[in-house]
Symmetry: C2
Subunit: 249 residues, 2 copies
């Protein structure tokens, strides 16, 4: 099995209403690497958010007293804290200047995934897509309209428990299931595999980061040669561990 990964350079500036699927198809073509059936296309959530208008001017945000009280000693912007809380269904950890939340989607991450950097202007932040599976589906549908059957992953960069360094993971998916299950399968010696389910989507998102790079402006990567089974009902939901099964929340 061999796999190729490459970034899609040369995307135009993304603004609210941008047709990402068409832009990606055209940029890949212009780069001499047109999209192909069977590709997995990984799209950084930030450009998805920008295309969907998930930008907020901090000056327009009225922070709550709780947001003000907690932000001040840590020299944080209360307007950002207010948005973090609004994007969360609950606070998972609030220790020192760190605020880890569970977003309305069910992602556990720092600051509800809000991005204060490189939003294209000072005083403006980028929120996660409202429904990242729907975002992935729209892009996949756009590819289909251009005649390409590609799976789509919307990725973001999250921290983890126990390990330093962030990694890119999947927050939305379309066309393929995010988890590959080995439950019930046995090895050549008749033992069940220790590994029962792999989060292929997170491995694909992380692999894509390696060719996108966080500091370069290549927010889209193509993975070619990964075999996936078409499933138009796939969502990221199977990756979200229910709180009742989670020993660390």
């Amino acid at each position: 099995m061999a796999m190729q990964l490459f970034g899609v350079p040369g995307l135009p500036e993304i603004t609210p209403g941008s047709d990402l699927a068409t832009m990606i198809v055209e940029a890949a073509l212009a780069a001499g690497t047109p999209l192909d059936d069977g590709d997995v296309v990984v799209v950084t959530s930030k450009i998805v958010s920008k295309a969907e208008g998930r930008l907020v001017e901090l000056a327009d945000v009225q922070p709550s007293q709780f947001a003000i009280d907690w932000s001040t000693p840590w020299d944080k912007d209360p307007a950002v804290t207010e948005l973090v809380l609004r994007e969360a269904k609950r606070v998972v950890r609030q220790v020192g200047p760190i605020l880890i939340t569970e977003t309305h989607h069910g992602f556990v991450c720092a600051n509800s995934g809000i991005d204060q950097s490189s939003s294209g202007a000072h005083g403006r932040v980028v929120l996660l897509p409202l429904d990242s599976d729907a975002s992935a589906r729209r892009i996949r549908d756009g590819f289909a309209s251009a005649g390409v059957d590609a799976a789509v992953i919307v990725s973001d960069t999250f921290g983890r428990a126990w390990r330093e360094g962030q990694t890119d993971i999947a927050i939305g998916i379309a066309g393929m299931q995010p988890i590959t299950s080995y439950i019930g399968q046995v090895d050549p010696h008749g033992h069940e595999f220790r590994v029962q389910a792999l989060c292929t989507a997170d491995e694909l998102a992380g692999a894509a980061e390696l060719v996108k790079g966080n500091t370069s402006r290549v927010p889209v990567a193509v993975i070619r040669g990964h075999v996936w089974e078409r499933d138009d009902n796939a969502t990221i939901a199977p990756v979200l561990r229910d709180q009742s099964r989670d020993l660390f929340r």
Copy 2:
């Protein structure tokens, strides 16, 4: 930037004392994809453990009373539990039949990373390598003896907090730093990046899993086209979050 990944098939059965580096060099050559300078070679920890003789016959293990008492109601083998405890510096969570430990290396994982499946025989388990950085270094040195300057990652399959599905991550490294830091760098608008440090080693290990596959018998993958800076003092230590900085341990 483009990257290629391929598995290295055709490795012979690994036994204690096997010279992994030479076996990998020869298998890659025989497969028509010889190793090259600049490659990152990801080796599944299980074959490293086998080559290093990290196999234990369960019949030889005398379980403690604590191991017996906890194992019995959960229908677990007390000898395995005993090994899990011996491989751990402490128990992080022990809930129902789940035993999550911090290994002597500092990895937080289920069952101290002990593998009961596909160990080549019933009644035998595979422990993690004793010093997985040293294992990676030995393989890298073996490649150097064959004239190839390649970075080496020893990988294993671990679960995570909050998210279902396991992923392959790095437990040992040689030749390159595991973390890429962006601290102090600014984007085109002058903002500091939200992402400050990426665990490239984990992304590489996860990417390698996609071409190795957990059920196939391809325990080695080569990543070509990833740019890394040579550092012969690199270890996995920077990835291990200190307990004092960890909100989830």
